[in-house]
């Protein structure tokens, strides 16, 4: 393969992976699937499809690639780019119905913020269920006879993934910092500054969840990061014999940390996005009167926030602090028993969340409807 032939896909899948990259939607075969092979669905983000094909190598399965505009499943579903309409479209246009003897479709759990499972079932006659949240759990899920273990519903943030996300932030930040610093402090000090910033970014990702990256306390993290990166750079600069650059280096580190503060939290699987709340914090509320214990919400929660209360046959919000306000439970509840409430008492009812997904939900608060006021427990 030529150098650009290798380098460009690498660049696309690492430093440029925050940008969408689309592969062709439609039906793909993994191995030699027959009429009884499982049917799995995903979006058409190039990296996801490549990883799926890798983890499923050696098995036989049908892979339906829905058009998610080249965005990964979670972000596409949360942004309204991967919905039940896209799932229905690929079921019908791919001809999968003629290739398999069954009518069972496994959806990625993280698509639950956008794909209304029950609409897929009603319109296609397929039975649609949630598979594991993470694609690397698919082999175990298949080996177990297509059953999801509870731990596979909860989002982990393993070291290799932290490294990837840290790189996504560190690469542009250090490049811009180095380019801006060179004319101000010279090449050696600029490199010291950029490397220190990069090191601190990796450090922040490594220290999660011990460092706060959401709420007002996140400013402690970023101020500490700026001081540490600025101090490291100034120290290195002093050792290299430079002097008088500490101010520039600290300034660059401060700007870099301000860039991170825009939404570092939203690029992890453990925190709510800062931007979507638009400065208007909202929390999940359960109307226990309406809850019938269908438990759709329990099956789609990526943070294990919701649990079944066995005795009462109702759901309860067991871990409110862990909620990342992704909206999956609100979208999936067949009884509209879950909704978001803002600090000022206004709400985002289920219909609103289903229409706009999480896009700037913080700006979309509405007064509590008077005819059918949601109650909270």
């Amino acid at each position: 393969m030529t150098l650009p032939g290798r380098f460009l896909p690498w660049l696309r899948d690492t430093l440029l992976r925050m940008f969408p990259h689309a592969t062709r939607p439609g039906l793909r075969r993994i191995g030699r699937p027959g009429p009884d092979a499982p049917v799995l669905l995903t979006g058409n983000f190039t990296l996801t499809v490549a990883r799926l094909e890798r983890v499923l190598a050696g098995r036989d399965a049908w892979l339906l690639v829905a058009d998610s505009h080249g965005i990964n499943v979670w972000c596409a579903a949360g942004g309204g780019h991967l919905t039940h309409h896209d799932v229905i479209a690929v079921i019908r246009s791919s001809g999968i119905g003629e290739r398999v003897a069954h009518r069972r479709l496994w959806l990625p759990q993280l698509a639950a913020t956008g794909v209304e499972r029950r609409v897929v079932e009603a319109r296609t006659g397929w039975r649609a269920d949630w598979g594991p949240a993470r694609l690397e759990d698919l082999p175990a899920f298949l080996d177990r006879g297509e059953r999801v273990a509870r731990r596979e519903r909860t989002m982990r943030f393993p070291p290799w993934e932290r490294l990837e996300m840290a790189l996504v932030w560190a690469a542009p930040t250090t490049l811009v910092a180095a380019a801006a610093l060179v004319p101000l402090v010279g090449i050696a000090a600029a490199l010291a500054g950029a490397l220190s910033i990069g090191l601190v970014i990796f450090g922040i990702f490594a220290a999660l969840p011990r460092l706060p990256v959401e709420g007002p306390r996140r400013w402690l993290t970023y101020a500490g990061g700026a001081l540490l990166a600025g101090g490291l750079a100034a120290g290195a600069d002093a050792l290299l014999g430079g002097s008088g650059h500490a101010g520039w280096l600290l300034g660059a580190a401060t700007l870099a940390m301000l860039a991170l503060s825009v939404d570092l939290a939203g690029t992890t699987p453990w925190y709510a996005s800062t931007i979507n709340s638009a400065g208007n914090r909202f929390d999940l509320v359960l109307d226990r009167e309406r809850c019938t214990g269908a438990a759709d919400c329990v099956r789609v929660c990526p943070r294990d926030v919701l649990r079944m209360d066995g005795r009462e046959r109702k759901v309860r919000i067991a871990e409110p602090e862990a909620c990342i306000r992704c909206g999956a439970c609100v979208v999936q509840c067949p009884e509209d028993a879950l909704f978001f409430r803002f600090a000022d008492g206004r709400v985002a009812p289920p219909a609103q969340v289903r229409a706009t997904r999480m896009n700037m939900l913080g700006r979309r608060a509405v007064p509590v409807p008077t005819d059918e006021a949601p109650r909270s427990s």
């Binding site: 972000c75 229905i88 246009s93």
Partner: protein
């Protein structure tokens, strides 16, 4: 997670869609909507707008007195369309469904005209074949189909000029609305393949928009589910 940053920058794009399309089409998008409505809509006529988006064509048809149904899979776009219709005092039926779900939400033969503007190009070729066959079924025998989409001009040099002239506007539009139109060639042939008759194609000056008009055959072709 990885597209989060990108997604955040472009969120709530339906509100910016109309501005984006005006920019990309150099202000000609309103003329295109009117051209489609002029061919398809008349007082009392039942018109279905497939992929209605923010309701540009839908409202142009409703203003001409047609009984219009707007269909789109994007709930956010429909919310903008609803608000525009309410502001203009026009009554329209809105349906949230994709083109591939047409058979689930509309009765066969229930429309005198089906229009679709800049939506066929959003589909994959195999989806278009499926969708065009369903559009034929949604129409009453002899009903009118009007498709409008972007096309590339014929000839290599003209295409190069078109691409170069479009690139900066396309980049701006994408930044503004997170959406682009995609040129599609051969819509007229695809309509013929789906069973439509009397297929004609016009180019709107300066030649980068095509209007395909056709009639549903009578009786409508059988489509296997």
């Amino acid at each position: 997670m990885s597209s989060y940053v990108y997604m955040k920058v472009l969120e709530s794009t339906p509100e910016r869609y109309d501005r984006g399309m005006r920019l990309l089409s150099r202000g000609r998008i309103d003329g295109l909507w009117e051209a489609v409505a002029e061919r398809a809509a008349a007082p009392g006529r039942r018109v279905l707008d497939v992929g209605c988006g923010t309701g540009g064509v839908t409202l142009a048809c409703a203003r001409r007195g047609a009984r219009v149904t707007g269909l789109d899979k994007d709930a956010g776009m429909l919310a903008v369309a609803r608000a525009k219709a309410a502001a203009a005092g026009l009554a329209v039926d809105w349906l949230e469904a994709g083109v591939m779900e047409l058979e689930d939400v509309v009765e066969p033969g229930g429309f005198d005209a089906v229009v679709s503007c800049l939506a066929m190009s959003e589909l994959l070729p195999e989806e278009r074949a499926y969708a065009l066959a369903r559009l034929a079924r949604a129409l009453a025998p002899g009903g009118l189909l009007v498709l409008a989409d972007e096309v590339r001009p014929a000839g290599r040099l003209a295409r190069l000029g078109w691409s170069l002239a479009r690139a900066p506007r396309a980049a701006l539009t994408w930044l503004l609305a997170a959406r682009l139109t995609h040129p599609v060639d051969g819509l007229a042939d695809e309509a013929r393949a789906a069973g439509f008759v009397d297929v004609t194609e016009e180019r709107l000056p300066p030649g980068d928009f095509a209007l395909v008009s056709a009639r549903a055959p009578a009786p409508p072709p059988e489509v296997r589910p």
